[in-house]
């Protein structure tokens, strides 16, 4: 083969390969352009789910605080905040943090916000400031498993909150309107499921009962993924659609809304005029 023929062949090969590159690049570009719009829609849908997941991550942090508190207080969950209108736990008994991540507080990173670490996965951090936002969550402090019990809770809450009593003990309820048909709304405790089974209130498995008692309820958000996170006594959390099964029912949130409204009445509604209010214990 002459040198000229060899050169011509190399040139032809190079041109052929360049054509392959061009065709592949143009193919990719056309595919990318054609898929851009549907992909944007998919991304948008995914971001809505991401937002729910992000709320869930913070929610798990709050749940963890309650569980940690219970672990440190012989199974007792935090007390419901005293005073009307705020259906959340009392922060007094809670530590400001449980386990700080040293990497976030290292010399390199500066002090930064306090970060709490939990055990549900190996490394997720939660800034306390955000997750103690008491508007986002409802914490009843009592075992309330349906709307009937929620109404009994609301009645008992009004009396105690307006009178300024604490929420350290079980709440009285009309016979049969307490937790699972008992005469009282039981304070949340890690041993509650076992105690209810011992009392003959529940004849199923302990895990099954613990998985039915909500301890922390997120205020539901509207939108295509409408719903809220609910944490249960066994420690698991679920995203429950709204409207959906208890506690994500409109009636339940109407009851809670009316309790929140008590905050506005406080001060203009003197305790003495509340005839059923028993004397405040010292």
């Amino acid at each position: 083969m002459t040198e000229a023929a060899e050169k011509a062949m190399t040139h032809s090969n190079t041109a052929q390969v360049t054509r392959v590159y061009h065709r592949l690049a143009v193919g990719c570009l056309i595919a990318a352009l054609a898929l851009a719009w549907p992909f944007a829609i998919a991304l948008q849908k995914g971001r809505r789910v991401d937002a729910v997941v992000e709320r869930g991550v913070y929610f798990q942090g709050v749940k963890l605080l309650c569980l940690e508190y219970a672990r440190e207080h012989a199974g007792r969950f935090p007390e419901l905040r005293r005073g009307p209108g705020r259906i959340v736990f009392d922060r007094d008994g809670l530590h400001s943090s449980y386990r700080l991540a040293w990497s976030f507080g290292s010399r390199l990173w500066g002090a930064g916000p306090p970060v709490v670490f939990g055990h549900m996965d190996s490394n997720l951090g939660f800034a306390l400031g955000e997750y103690l936002d008491d508007w986002r969550y409802f914490y009843l402090g009592y075992a309330v498993t349906n709307e009937d019990e929620a109404r009994a809770f609301a009645h008992a809450y009004r009396i105690r909150a307006v009178c300024g009593f604490d929420f350290g003990s079980d709440l009285w309820a009309h016979p049969g309107h307490g937790t699972l048909g008992t005469d009282a709304l039981c304070r949340l405790d890690t041993g509650l499921a076992a105690a209810l089974i011992d009392a003959g209130v529940w004849d199923g498995a302990e895990e099954e009962l613990a998985a039915r008692i909500p301890i922390l309820i997120e205020r539901p958000r509207p939108g295509p993924e409408a719903g809220g996170w609910v944490a249960y006594l066994d420690g698991h959390a679920e995203y429950v659609p709204y409207p959906g099964p208890f506690p994500m029912t409109p009636e339940f949130f109407r009851i809670l809304g009316r309790l929140e409204a008590l905050d506005k009445w406080h001060g203009v509604w003197p305790q003495d005029s509340f005839s059923c209010c028993p004397a405040r214990p010292d």
Partner: protein, 363 residues
């Protein structure tokens, strides 16, 4: 993107061992053994509960940090390269039997391979779990664990090699799978690997297995392209392997801006980068071979890739996990010898010994 060059015009019946391919398989085998020994060496970099040991770029990012975006390291490509090579070799072996002995023999071979991998998967994620007192993890046995993913990838490679004879069409179908995966992942239509979205109750879907199988199918296309001119593999490298690898790398880079790489769900960005790097790996071992350059021990390792895989998955993993962690943390030299060198030396010695006796373990 299809022309005559994609047609099965080569000589699939002429199935012979390529030294350069064994070298590439050897590198994959090494990466696999390293990833196995590095697994128990990780440590949580945020909590600082354990001191990470060994070269951190050779351990999966999730062994140091489980969060978003995921931490991706060099070794994260290893599993996908393994799948690619599996598809590449599956095409040669399957079509070789198809041409020489007919469909019955080819499918019998395919069934034997897939069946053997599922038996291994059952031993690793079923039988051993049961012996340890844990319940059998059926999703892992069937599609979630690496061995099951290998079985699925092999199955798809054989099926696609048989029913879609055109390499270009096969590669296009693999790209369609990548696109479907990207949409499923972006829209959260199915449950993803991390726990975060599990309480949402999304339907379970083997996202990882989907893209790993697509990578293996891509491997079958590369395998056919290399034999575009049976007399001269350079033609296939020049006209298909290199251009497709470079474009895959470019596409993977662009995709990374839109959707992060994720090891467990094998996102499309990671899959494309793996395809690109696997193509370049083949091209470089081929070029080395052409230049008369050879890295010792890689060829014996590559020849007995399956054996290395079995030793790694069932033996080395358990050996490294059994070593006392505080002792390894306190004695770096002992850690280097016991974890970093001994398993590699053992695997290489076995591979070299078998190679000297011309023994190749096949399933």
């Amino acid at each position: 993107m299809v022309d005559a060059a994609d047609s099965p015009g080569g000589d699939p019946g002429a199935s012979r061992r390529y030294a350069w391919l064994d070298q590439a398989r050897g590198i994959v085998a090494l990466l696999f053994v390293i990833s196995t020994i590095m697994g128990p060496m990780g440590g949580n970099m945020l909590l600082g509960d354990r001191l990470p040991l060994g070269p951190t770029y050779l351990d999966h990012g999730y062994n140091y940090y489980k969060g978003y975006p995921p931490l991706i390291t060099l070794i994260d490509i290893g599993q996908m390269t393994f799948m690619f090579v599996l598809g590449f070799v599956a095409y040669i072996a399957f079509t070789g039997r198809l041409a020489k002995r007919g469909p019955r023999a080819a499918w019998a071979y395919a069934a034997r391979r897939v069946g053997a991998l599922y038996v291994l998967s059952f031993i690793a994620c079923g039988l051993i779990y049961r012996l340890e007192g844990k319940p059998i993890n059926w999703p892992e046995v069937l599609y979630n664990d690496i061995i099951a993913e290998l079985a699925l990838a092999a199955l798809f490679s054989y099926v696609m090699s048989y029913f879609v004879r055109n390499a270009g069409w096969r590669a296009s179908l693999a790209v369609v799978a990548f696109v479907v995966h990207a949409f499923l992942f972006a829209s959260h239509a199915v449950d993803q690997y991390p726990w975060f979205d599990t309480p949402l109750g999304r339907p379970k879907f083997p996202l990882g297995a989907l893209n790993l199988s697509a990578i293996a199918v891509m491997g079958t296309a590369f395998s056919q392209w290399i034999r575009m001119d049976p007399a001269d593999p350079r033609v296939g490298f020049r006209r298909r392997v290199l251009p497709v690898s470079v474009v895959a790398l470019g596409a993977g880079y662009c995709m990374e801006w839109i959707q992060h790489s994720d090891h467990h769900d094998v996102t499309t960005a990671l899959a494309l980068i793996s395809v690109g790097l696997s193509g370049l790996l083949l091209a470089s071992t081929y070029a080395f071979n052409e230049a008369g350059l050879e890295i010792p021990w890689l060829e014996p390792l590559g020849k007995n890739l399956i054996l290395v895989f079995i030793i790694g998955a069932l033996g080395i993993n358990r050996y490294v996990e059994a070593l006392p962690r505080p002792f390894l943390e306190a004695h770096p030299y002992a850690c280097l010898l016991l974890v970093g060198v001994a398993p590699l030396a053992l695997v290489i010695s076995i591979a070299v010994a078998l190679d000297k006796r011309n023994i190749v373990i096949r399933l």
